[in-house]
Amino acid sequence: MTLTNNPPAAKPTLTQRGSSALGDRVFSWWTLGTGLLVLAILGLILITTVREAWPAFDAMGLRFITERVWDPNPATGDAIFGALSFAYGTAVSSLIALLFAVPVSVGIALFLTELAPRRLRGPAVTVIDLLAAVPSVVFGLWGILVVAPALVPIYQWMHDVFGGIPLLGRLFGPVGSGRNFMTAGLILAIMVTPIITSITREVFSTVPRADKDAALALGATRWEMIRGAVFPHSFGGVVGAVMLGLGRAMGETIAVALVIGGATNITANLFAPGNSMAAVIVQQFGESTGTFTAALIGLGVVLFAMTVLINVLAQVVVRRAEARMKGSVA
């Protein structure tokens, strides 16, 4: 019989065989590998920087974060590396930045989602995109050569007016060059506004149409609708956005390095020069050796730990808020 002479036919298969199956496996492993790269890099950052910073941590112990003196080249005795002044500078400049950036960002986000006529929406988004596109060093250059000198008379005026008030007046102390905590905070505010705005706007746009219409139908004005329908719905997301902005502000290096003044200083006076952790690293890294380098890398470790912590928290908050909102859409 002719039929039996045929070689036993392989089961028909509709997918390509042979090397292709191997290709599938190789490809999936390769993509997994690139995905894992992210985790690998983050892990490596932690391990290598901690190891390299160890001499400084070892020499200073817990004083590395509680000591306010930073003296790499003392006339006598051992070098002292205390990060407290710089942590203070980072905190103060970031908080000033948020103080200005958050209301403005929320305002712009409301403008984009609730207020803007259609033909203004595009240009407004473009402004935010462009603000985000300007490199931070350009803001720094503008800050040190234009903004800081221009603000000195204003700072002087504020010092004259508010300086005499007890307690509160200490914030508005004597004015120096215009390179100080306040200027750094203002420049930072410009730089974190785009990121807070874009996330806040996304959060606002997930507020259900029905909630807003219901508020308006009950006779609410636009502002009452925003307060009653938009804000309660998006509180979590906005908190997340603010935290992301905080993380960005704390890590910003170059602009702050240019405008904060470069002094190791803890003072309530917002018009006094100071320094931030990121700025110190970039200013002093070139001339450092040995334990000094280790101490600067140690600042990097502290900065890394703090920004990762804040970012993880912020992402979790934003994700949770988004999930809740998607669940509640009618």
Binding site: F27, L32, G107, V134, W223
Partner: protein, 304 residues
Amino acid sequence: MTLTAPPAARPAAGGPDLTRAALSGRRRFTNHLATAAIWVAVLLAVIPLALVTYTVLAKGGGVMSLSFLNEDIPNSYRREGGGMGPAIVGTLLITGMAALMAIPLGVFGAIYLNEYGKQRPLARVIRLMSDVMTGVPSIVMGLFIYISWVLLVGEQTGFAGALALACLMLPVVIRSSEEMLRLVPDELRQASMALGARKWKTTLTVVLPAAISGITSGSLLAVARAAGETAPIIIVTGIVFSPNWNLFDGSNTALPAQIFRNASQPFPAAQDRAWGAALTLIVIVLGFTIIARFISSRFAIKER
């Protein structure tokens, strides 16, 4: 006649007054105040942008010339003249090399997240961690590359700068590419599978081409951001005053680093060079941004 409808009742005829006029003064005032505050917020964002743009154009335009783009950087900040040639070469080479490394890796990472990992725990961790990684300060990335590359090879090179920029770009490319892959309709994947194509072939020849315009524009935005990064460049690439075309041998420099160094000098000549460099950098960054926007608006998959 009884059938004719009564004339349309005005609110005054009994029902509650629902017109704007009935709002109490306080409520109307608050509403106006809030509206005004929102407009002020928008203005507050426009002002710095306008001021920065104006200053950079005015001061940078003053020193801009062909020789500025070409000539070597004077090795004394005090000296007049010279240009930013080496920094432009450095910026383009370093950023280009970083893009060559980060974009392919990032796209494959995105393919893992969207085509393989989906909602698995590992994929969710990677997704969260890439978002976290976009928040890692660039100075920390600079320190990381300094320790793990510069100390290893023993010298500061342009390639080290490219590595640092690549690390900064990677998570941005991953997340934006993933968004774009998610927009590719599942029907395309199913059609390709039904024709007998393996998953890797489907992904590379059907899914990726469908999303390529979005991926390109997202990647270009990442490149634009990276081109403006300063801190890692200062830490890991050192400084040169004449062009170095070799990324693997000897120090290099880039526009942001030059802006930073010149901005903190008291000499007018240095400050002029900083403004010129800033203008050049902004033109490069905006160039990338505009191309990216154009591609995404012209070729994007329509969101469904």
